[in-house]
């Protein structure tokens, strides 16, 4: 029975391979491929080259354009920025670089506060995520193997459902006549509703809630790899549980902790949806400032300068993350 199943499964890749062999053996394809191979190109070049060119063109080049527009001046036209290079007369090229946008960001307290507030909000949320996520990941990694997959699935499930709708769910819970306030008033604990929506508290909850799976998964991977006998050795030698945890468990799961924190912190800094829906007018974050500069004020150069400044802030966390991800993926080599 198992034989017939694998036979059926094999037929389609076989057909594909046959088709490819036929194409390769006939006509222009053959000349082209031989010509390419003579010049040192091969299938490898194709496999690497196609995604490489795509990302180069649609991911890297756009950053250069943002950089360019961030140093140009706004003008009332479409697109609303002055060209970078203008040909004033036949042969004279004029280069315009204008750092006024950055100076403006630096001097205006609104932008400075938005930056500091974003970093603070992201940092607080990351710590909260770690405090909630670590025991969860630990519990999952130490539960019976038959349970583990189900529990992991339950952590992942919210991630597959709409992010926007999960944030929306919290509006109904936190607002003045929402679930929590109604419940507390019904109990008689409070007479006046507690204002929770449109505060920083709501933003923290929103970020922790949305990014918790990103924290739990790398932690789980690290804790699962942890050698239990090391913990037993430490306690046999008279180490107390709390000390075992601090001196052995945490250092050994360091990679998971760092990866998880970066996975939460980096996107949280630039978050737009959560502060826009749950935050108040004073919980300004850079993502929201950028959005408003772009869509409401139509000031593309300032929006670009905000983006570049945010990117500078995130370069180091992104590099840390890539190093640790590389270590995790490259560990088998």
């Amino acid at each position: 029975m198992s034989r017939s199943r694998s036979g059926a499964a094999r037929s389609s890749p076989f057909l594909l391979a046959e088709l490819m062999a036929w194409i390769r053996a006939h006509g222009p394809w053959r000349w082209a491929s031989q010509g390419l191979r003579r010049r040192g190109y091969s299938g490898r070049t194709f496999v690497t080259g196609v995604p490489f060119l795509w990302l180069l063109f649609f991911f890297l080049v756009p950053f250069l354009i943002v950089l360019k527009i961030s140093v140009s001046q706004m003008q009332m036209a479409m697109p609303p920025y002055e060209p970078f290079v203008t040909w004033t007369s036949a042969q004279v090229m004029e280069l315009k670089v204008n750092f006024a946008n950055y100076a403006f960001l630096w001097e205006d307290a609104l932008y400075r506060n938005a930056y500091l507030n974003s970093i603070l909000t992201a940092a607080v949320s990351t710590v909260l995520c770690l405090l909630i996520g670590y025991p969860m990941a630990y519990g999952i990694a130490r539960s019976r193997p038959s349970w583990r997959n189900l529990l992991l699935l339950l952590v992942m499930l919210p991630f597959w459902t709409s992010f926007l709708l999960r944030v929306y769910a919290w509006i109904g819970i936190l607002k003045n006549n929402g679930v929590i306030n109604n419940f507390l008033m019904w109990l008689g604990v409070i007479d006046e509703p507690i204002v929770m929506l449109q505060t920083n508290f709501a933003v923290y909850i929103g970020i922790v809630y949305s990014y918790l799976p990103f924290m739990v998964l790398p932690l789980y991977t690290a804790i699962e790899k942890l050698d239990q006998s090391l913990l037993e050795a430490a306690s046999d030698l008279g180490c107390r549980p709390a000390k075992v945890f601090i001196r052995v468990t945490i250092p050994l799961t360091k990679n998971g902790i760092i990866a998880g924190c970066m996975l939460v912190f980096i996107p949280a800094v630039g978050e737009f949806v959560i502060p826009a829906l749950l935050g108040g007018p004073d919980s300004l974050m850079i993502g929201r400032v950028l959005w408003e500069e772009f869509f409401n004020n139509r000031d593309w150069p300032i929006a670009s300068a905000v983006a570049i400044a945010m990117l500078l802030l995130l370069v180091i966390p992104i590099m840390i993350l890539q190093r640790f991800q590389g270590q995790q993926l490259g560990a088998h080599r």
Partner: protein, 279 residues
């Protein structure tokens, strides 16, 4: 270690409650008669009826579905190629750059990706005259760019755990690289590729920020419609919509999980039978 047995399960329970209570409340209140979402006014399914009569939501859902399907296919092809290159080609020129570009979109704040892609499309339109205006094409390109990173990571980590000896054996027997890929590698990593496709589909289906930057008039995807409604406050038909989406995803995930577990069990049984036959 005698205190942890209470602490860890308690934290785990609280964690899962934190994850699931909001979703459950969302579903419960979708059956609320009252227009005030959080004040219970009796059981009713009228918001579901209202949802299915809402042309704007239905059109947006169909548009989102089309874009998500196109995006998932493109992202899976590109992401699989990138994952293959990173997992199998060792060191090559441009590898550090490809690694960086393939994983940075995972964490890049969406406002930055969205803004930079929009500025690219505007510049392209000025220079090449394409894409003329913004709409489905620009949204799909933008979605592929950020969601292929997820496929790359899934495929790359699956390939990293896969023993290369099977591929080497096929190579030694004279199969060419393309044939090895379609005959050996692809069937083995197929679950990872399928997971990548589904992930890319979901990411695109759900994306608001990047889409808002690169969408044109008349290309309102479902998240854009939801966001404009949600900004005005809670509304019960959004609860109904959310419940339907959660239900679909839950069924899908559990079916996939169940199927994969069964496959694993069968594979284990096959291995055991093979061992028994050899003895």
């Amino acid at each position: 270690m005698n205190r942890r047995p209470i602490f860890v399960p308690a934290m785990m329970t609280l964690g899962f409650l934190f994850l699931y209570v909001p979703i459950l409340l969302l579903i419960v209140y979708s059956f609320n008669e009252s227009r005030l979402v959080t004040v219970w006014g009796g059981f009713s399914t009228k918001w579901y009826g209202e949802l299915f009569r809402n042309e704007q939501v239905l059109d947006a859902a169909w548009l989102s579905f089309k874009i998500a399907a196109m995006n998932a296919t493109g992202a899976t092809i590109l992401g699989t190629l990138a994952g293959l290159a990173l997992a199998r080609f060792g060191r090559f020129r441009g590898r550090p750059l490809l690694t960086g570009m393939a994983t940075a979109p995972l964490v890049m704040p969406e406002v930055i990706t969205g803004l930079s892609l929009l500025l690219l499309f505007v510049a392209m339109e000025q220079v090449f005259g394409w894409p003329a205006g913004r709409g489905i094409t620009t949204i799909t390109i933008a979605h592929i760019t950020f969601s292929m990173a997820y496929v790359t990571v899934v495929v790359q980590s699956r390939l990293a755990t896969l023993d290369e000896s099977l591929e080497e054996a096929a190579m030694d027997l004279g199969a060419r690289p393309a044939k090895v890929f379609f005959l050996i590698t692809m069937p083995i990593i197929f679950p990872a590729i399928a997971a990548g496709w589904l992930l890319a589909f979901t990411l695109s289906w759900d994306d608001l920020v990047i889409t808002n930057f690169v969408a044109g008039p008349g290309s309102s995807t479902l998240p854009l419609v939801i966001f404009s409604k949600v900004r005005l406050g809670v509304s019960p038909d959004i609860n109904a919509l959310a419940s339907i989406l959660v239900l679909i995803v839950a069924i899908g995930i559990f079916t996939a999980g169940f199927y994969m577990q069964r496959q694993q069990k069968r594979r284990d049984q096959d291995v055991q039978r093979a061992i028994a036959a050899n003895e």
